[in-house]
C-alpha cells in the first residue's frame, strides 16, 4: 500500500475509534436534530402546506421535508466542531504530531477533513435510523444513494470549517463566528422552507437562500434520498469545496497563532 493510503487509513480508523469511545459526543450530536424533528416539525406540521416539488412525487409532511436539512445540519455542526477542536483543545497536540508525518501537509489536512466527514456520516445514519423508527420512511435505495452526497457535502462543510479555523486568529472570536456562521447559514437556506415559500415573504430572502452553498448541500442530499442526482447542486457544492479548501490550505499557517498558544 502506498504511504499516502496507509496514513489515510490510519487517520480514518483513529477517528472512527475515538467516535465509538466518546459516547456523549455521539448522543449530543443526535439530540439536536431529533429535537427539531420531533418538537419543531411536528408543531409546524399543520401550519405549513407544501405543494409537490421535485424530488417529491406526492404530498409530503413537513417532517419529511426537513429531513435533508437536519441531515445537513448534523454535518454542519460536526464540521464546525472539528474546526473548533482543531483550534482550541485536545486535538491540537494530535495535529502537531500528525504534521510530523513524512507526507505533504495538504494530504494530511485532507485526511483529517475526511475523517471528520466519516464521523458526520456515522451520525447521519444513526439519525436516519431513529427517524425511521419514528415513522419517517424514505425509499430504501435512498439510504444508499445519499452516501456519496453526504461525502461531498461533508467535505464542503469541513473545508469551510477548516478555512474559518485557519483564518480566525483570536480564539475568543471563534465561538462568536460560529454563531454568526451556523445560524444564518442554516436559517437562510432551503433546510426549513422551500424557495418558493421564501419568495412569498421576500425575493431578497429567496435570492440569499438560492445562493447559500448550504442550500445546495441540502438539495443535493434531498435529491439523493430519492435516488436523483441534482447536478446543479453538486456543481455548486464541489466548487465551494474547492474554493474553501484552497483558501484553508493557503491560510493554514500555525505560526500565526492558533496552534501555539496552548503549546507554550
Amino acid at each position: 500500500m502506498s504511504p499516502y493510503l496507509r496514513a489515510m487509513n490510519a487517520i480514518l480508523a483513529r477517528e472512527a475509534l475515538r467516535f465509538v469511545t466518546q459516547r456523549e459526543r455521539f448522543l449530543a450530536a443526535l439530540v439536536r436534530p431529533l429535537v427539531w424533528l420531533i418538537v419543531f416539525a411536528a408543531g409546524f406540521r399543520a401550519a405549513l402546506g407544501l405543494s409537490i416539488i421535485p424530488p417529491y412525487q406526492t404530498y409530503i409532511t413537513y417532517e419529511v421535508y426537513i429531513i435533508p436539512g437536519l441531515v445537513a445540519m448534523i454535518q454542519l455542526f460536526n464540521a464546525m466542531q472539528s474546526a473548533l477542536s482543531l483550534v482550541y483543545d485536545r486535538e491540537m497536540g494530535s495535529m502537531r504530531l500528525l504534521l510530523t508525518a513524512p507526507l505533504p501537509r495538504w494530504w494530511l489536512l485532507f485526511c483529517k477533513l475526511l475523517a471528520g466527514v466519516l464521523v458526520s456520516i456515522l451520525q447521519v445514519y444513526a439519525f436516519l435510523g431513529i427517524a425511521y423508527l419514528y415513522g419517517i420512511r424514505l425509499p430504501p435505495m435512498g439510504y444508499v444513494w445519499v452516501l456519496p452526497a453526504l461525502l461531498v457535502s461533508g467535505l464542503m462543510l469541513g473545508a469551510v470549517g477548516l478555512f474559518l479555523a485557519s483564518t480566525i486568529r483570536q480564539l475568543e472570536n471563534f465561538a462568536g463566528v460560529m454563531n454568526f456562521v451556523i445560524f444564518p447559514v442554516f436559517f437562510l437556506s432551503t433546510a426549513l422552507y422551500p424557495l418558493w415559500r421564501m419568495a412569498e415573504s421576500s425575493t431578497l430572502l429567496r435570492d440569499i437562500c438560492a445562493w447559500n452553498p448550504f442550500s445546495h448541500a441540502v438539495e443535493l442530499i434531498r435529491f439523493a434520498l430519492y435516488m436523483r442526482l441534482n447536478a446543479e447542486a453538486l456543481g455548486w457544492v464541489a466548487l465551494t469545496f474547492g474554493v474553501f479548501l484552497a483558501l484553508a490550505l493557503w491560510g493554514f499557517d500555525p505560526a500565526r497563532g492558533m496552534m501555539t498558544r496552548k503549546a507554550r
Binding site: L17, G93, S94, L99, T100, A255, A263
Partner: protein, 240 residues
C-alpha cells in the same frame, strides 16, 4: 555527517523576535541539552525543527536533508516528543503506536513488531494492552518516547520531557534517553530548564531570549555541580 544542523535561524511572532540567528550542530550519538529559562525560545525552535512553522530565515538539515527542500526525507529521520502530551488517551498503548507507525508508512505487521521493540527498549513491554489513560505520567512520557522511535529516527527531539513528573520518573526518563544516545547512536536534542538533567559529558547549548549564548561540554563550561550557578548567572545577567 551532522544529525542536525541549524544555521542562522531567526524567527519572529509578528514584531516580536523569538529566535535570533541561532546556529548549532548535533552529532550522531551526542546528547545535547538545550538549556533555557521559560520563554527562551525552545518550543519555538522545536516548532521550526518539526516544520510546524516555516522558517523564513536560516537553514535546518537533518542527516544532511534540508527541511525546506526535502521535508519528507528530513521528517522521516527525526522523532519528536512535544512539550504537550499528544497521546490518544482512550486508545491502548499498542494502538497509539500502530497509528503512528502507519503515519510513517509502516505496514501493520512491521508496526506491530516495531512496537514490541520500542516498548522493550523503554522497559514497557508488559503494558502494550493497557489504555494510555491508565498509565501514570512517567509511563505516558516513556510511551511517547517509544513512539518517537517507531520509524527508527537518527535524531530525537524532546521538548521539556520531564515537566510535571516526580523525581523518580524524571531520573528514569533521563537515563533512558542517555542510553539511546550512547548505545544506539541516536542524536538527542533535549530541551529543558532544569540543569540537573544534564550529565557532565553532555553537550550544553544555552539559549536565552532567543539567542544562543554558549555551547560546549557541560564539564568544560562549568566545574562539577557548578552548572546551575553558571546558568543562573548567565541568564540573569542577560536579563538585567
Amino acid at each position: 555527517m551532522d544529525a542536525l544542523e541549524v544555521a542562522e535561524l531567526s524567527f519572529r511572532y509578528g514584531r516580536r523576535e523569538a529566535l535570533h540567528r541561532v546556529s548549532f550542530r548535533v552529532q550522531p550519538g551526542e546528547f545535547c541539552a538545550l538549556l533555557g529559562p521559560n520563554g527562551a525560545g525552545k518550543s519555538t525552535l522545536f516548532a521550526l525543527l518539526t516544520r510546524l512553522f516555516v522558517a523564513r530565515q536560516g537553514r535546518i538539515a537533518v542527516m544532511g536533508q534540508d527541511l525546506q527542500a526535502a521535508p519528507r526525507a528530513a521528517l522521516a529521520r527525526m522523532g519528536v516528543v512535544f512539550q504537550q502530551m499528544t497521546l490518544d488517551l482512550d486508545l491502548s498503548v499498542a494502538r497509539n503506536l500502530a497509528y503512528f507507525g502507519a503515519l510513517h508508512g509502516l505496514s501493520r505487521r512491521e508496526a506491530a513488531s516495531r512496537a514490541g521493540e520500542v516498548l522493550e527498549r523503554l522497559d514497557m513491554a508488559e503494558r502494550a494492552g493497557e489504555k494510555a489513560r491508565d498509565l501514570n505520567g512517567g509511563h505516558r512520557r516513556r510511551l511517547e518516547i517509544a513512539r518517537a522511535l517507531m520509524h527508527r529516527p537518527r535524531l530525537l527531539l524532546l521538548d521539556e520531557p520531564t515537566v510535571g513528573l516526580d523525581a523518580r520518573a524524571r531520573a528514569a526518563i533521563t537515563a533512558h534517553v542517555h542510553a539511546l544516545a550512547r548505545e544506539d547512536g541516536i542524536a538527542v536534542l533535549w530541551a529543558t530548564h532544569l540543569v540537573d538533567e544534564v550529565a557532565p559529558a553532555d553537550t550544553v547549548l544555552i539559549l536565552h531570549q532567543g539567542r544562543m549564548l554558549q555551547r560546549g561540554r557541560a564539564q568544560d563550561i562549568a566545574p562539577e555541580h557548578g552548572l546551575a550557578a553558571h546558568f543562573m548567572a548567565l541568564t540573569e545577567d542577560a536579563a538585567a
